[in-house]
């Protein structure tokens, strides 16, 4: 089934907005679960995404410790005399961070299941200027390239006989910082080449462009968008009230449903 890129964008917007604005760890885990289920539906290779995130575990540890040292809340789990090294609140903050990142990254990969041409077209049909849409899609495209570039450099360094795992931390950091400029410069060179080739093919030659490809949303798309909004606001409400649906929130929800229907017409 071919889902419109705009639908995917809306799903991602809903998920990442929730991830940013909710602070409750249970809620966040619930949203993560939903995100993973949606990703599976779009046949994202979720295992690979999770594997990538595994590397952020250090950050989790760092945040947990920093939060523990500098805040006085929570129970002390590990302490050195008066210095608290790990508290329950610290652990919680760290976990929240990692879950949030997981939601954002795995939901963002949903967009990459559309090709860049479709994404551009989707944005253009949302009345975004073509140049801007093009830029956004190139941006999305460039991230994996940048990652490849970093990977390649690290492989190349190791192949020159540097055992990166056995290198002491200080030297390792030195090597990584050394890589920074060349990778940046090579990315800029790539971007220059890209812009040149794009101009050569007559990009922006005419004011108006017509497209061979025109995206049309099917009723499935509308249904998905509707449910995304519905779920997102319901979750947000549940989170704000922290109580089961009250009459007033039901009223607000129906107002929202009404709005989404209007939005549907707009789209």
């Amino acid at each position: 089934m071919n889902i419109d890129p705009r639908t995917k964008l809306i799903i991602v917007l809903c998920l990442s907005t929730l991830a940013i604005f909710i602070k409750d760890i249970l809620f966040l885990s619930g949203i993560l679960l939903i995100t993973i289920m949606i990703s599976l539906f779009f046949k994202v290779n979720i295992l690979q995404v999770l594997r990538e995130i595994k590397r952020l575990l250090y950050v989790l540890l760092a945040i947990a410790v920093i939060q523990s040292v500098f805040s006085t809340d929570g129970q002390v789990l590990i302490g050195l005399g008066k210095l608290t090294i790990l508290t329950t609140v610290g652990v919680q903050k760290g976990l929240e961070f990692i879950i949030r990142i997981m939601i954002i990254i795995s939901s963002a990969t949903i967009i990459t299941t559309s090709n860049s041409r479709e994404i551009i077209q989707g944005l253009v049909q949302w009345r975004l200027p073509y140049e801007v849409a093009f830029m956004v899609s190139i941006g999305i495209r460039f991230l994996p390239i940048l990652r490849e570039e970093i990977k390649d450099s690290i492989v190349a360094i190791q192949l020159r006989g540097i055992e990166i795992k056995k290198t002491p931390l200080k030297k390792k950091l030195y090597i990584y910082s050394y890589l920074f400029t060349p990778i940046l410069v090579s990315t800029i060179i790539k971007a220059q080449k890209l812009s040149m080739s794009v101009e050569m093919r007559g990009f922006r030659a005419y004011e108006r462009r017509t497209s061979y490809m025109v995206l049309r949303m099917s009723y499935v798309d509308y249904l998905i968008i509707f449910f995304s909004f519905l779920c997102a606001t319901t979750l947000a409400h549940l989170y704000i009230d922290q109580s089961v649906l009250t009459l007033s929130s039901l009223k607000r929800m129906s107002y929202f449903v009404y709005n989404s229907i209007r939005l549907r017409k707009f789209l």
Partner: protein
Amino acid sequence: MTLLGSIELKNLSFGYVKGKEIIKNINVNIDTEAITCIVGPNGSGKTTLGKLMVGILKPGSGEIYLFGENMAKMSLGQIGKKIGYLFQNPEKQFFSNTVEDEIKFILEIKGLNKEYIEEKVKSLLNLFQLNHIRTSFPLKLSQGEKQRLALAAILANEPEYLILDEPTKGLDIGLRNSLIQILKNLYDKGIGMTVMTHDYTFINQVSDRILTMYRGEIVEDKRNEY
């Protein structure tokens, strides 16, 4: 039995995507004291085989023994100390801001002595005729210059064995002949190599053995008689 002076590929298979094998059950023993050329049409899997032989790619099934040691148990760094690998696209192996640093940086990281490094860099820049561009940005060089820089950087490590993916590509006749001379000199010093190439001048001049690949298999194994 495994041989010490060899790279041994045993029942080696590999595919980038499941169900589509690019390397199909290759069994071959490569003598690391000789020059082995791997030829074959574009897309036959030469580059893929080379990447497997230096551990950039991991075998789907089968094993590779490098000097008698199972490569699955070696880190890229350990392999890199023994083998110098020239990428088909040499851009992929640059990580420095200047031509000079490309050779120097690794030697510095290894903590070698300053005079030795200076001497080494100078002789390599001379050998590969890179002196006039020592402060240029590697990615802005011409194809031939990139090729030479990549080789120079590899040789700075004094590897025991070389795997070169199309080393003469992009070189004019003069540069190619001087490269062939350099490789011959290395060979005389006892450094063997595997060379993926289409360059028959090169093959006829230096190879001891020619393996022909076709669709992921070795279809011909020929010794070169001078």
